[in-house]
Subunit: 144 residues, 4 copies
């Protein structure tokens, strides 16, 4: 087991300083757990996420996956604000419940220039994924 | 040329009624143009979209692409609120400017049960795409 | 545990009858294990797969993933020759060795009309994936 | 208009020397046209590509797309054998006919370290795409 480069408190402090538009007290985002190249993050439920038919919107899930991916990258390479997403592929699997959403991210490959990851999203309390994401990040040369 | 099933005014009315959380006067979203299976939509610039380094966030682009895809589907199958995204793949190509973003969507294949589309995103005033999206929608049986 | 709809022998017989161009004695393809919605399949090494730098070609990996996906679908819905791939997304993670390749597929979501799956590919003898695939299949109405 | 770094004859000579397993007289692959970052390539029809129902197999289309992507990269960066595919996403749109397949590739973004491309595939004689591919290549540092 490799320890993460940043623990939960360090990640929260870094994100609040660097990403105040996305990660702020009213965002409903929180970090539940973090390892080296892995994390579990949460989006608290909010009525504004709802779409016709009572389902949580796709962009809400994409935003949470994006957050999980960034936390997983930081946990493995440390506080590098310039890591950027190259691409993101999401498959929507099941209708989410009207509840919090959890996202479990892991790095599948950490290279010098690229990190490839996936994320499983769940409605809180359920084991069946509501969405699955794969994504590649570009890591700046000074990032390793 | 096939005429769209819903014109711009009909689309705006439908979206305001069915998707008030996403499409409302303060959202900055607008429909510039619509054809059968094609559309051009706009996200007005807002400081809240900015991320470190002065770039517009990935989720902002994904949200706009999601909106463009839905408008393109409606333009081809009419007011069917239950068409759902099966998957979405985004490639980020260039740093967006601090300006409005335009999204041009087209249906590549409209089948009985599925629609496959792509979207090019641009910073307003530029011809070089900042992102490219492909996506598949599932069309409910009553949708055709 | 749900039993697979077709066991290994039934799958091999079905594939040899329906897909003789792809699954024949000289193809090097074999089924190692099968469950309900899961399988492990193998591509025997062949010099013709090699590309410059001594690596196994991308299309070889895509072909094996395609085979694994089809076996996983059959294991869950039975002998339906007309299930078709809607899309396939592959991330190449590591250089494969000059050895057999194994592919482990699982269904993440089995719906009435769609199956969403992923596949991890490995060089024989290694635990680190060389590629990861996600894919969606369309299931014909008579398929369930 | 920028001229391609390698013209058709140079590309064919390079590919025959570097990729003899994939590009050889019996492969049925040919280059129809090439520009800077664009190309049109052909896969001659062969009965071995056929699957149940009389359709051309998915791996045949993926292989041709992979070939088109590589030719497009070479046309823009020159004879760099070590450019590698990071990922490839294919959407299958229509049943191909029992005919040659054409693939039109273009680079959407050529960066220092990455190239992002798409490919439209067609049955010879038709204007409606049978498949659409997006893909990212990693370009080695010495490649520019």
């Amino acid at each position: 087991m490799t320890a993460p480069r940043m623990n939960r408190e360090e990640l929260e402090r870094f994100l609040a300083a660097e990403f105040p538009q996305a990660f702020h007290p009213g965002s409903g985002l929180s970090i539940e757990d973090v390892g080296f190249g892995t994390c579990l993050v949460r989006q608290a439920y909010d009525d504004k996420f709802i779409r016709p038919g009572g389902t949580i919107s796709g962009p809400t899930m994409m935003m949470l996956a994006d957050f999980a991916l960034y936390v997983a990258v930081l946990s493995a390479i440390g506080p590098v604000p310039l890591a950027v997403t190259i691409n993101l592929n999401i498959n929507f699997l099941r209708r989410p419940d009207r509840r919090d959403i959890l996202a479990a991210a892991r790095i599948m490959k950490l290279g010098k220039r690229l990190a490839v990851m996936d994320v499983h999203l769940f409605s809180d309390g359920s084991d069946e994924p509501i969405a699955h994401v794969t994504s590649t990040y570009s890591i700046p040369p000074e990032g390793r």
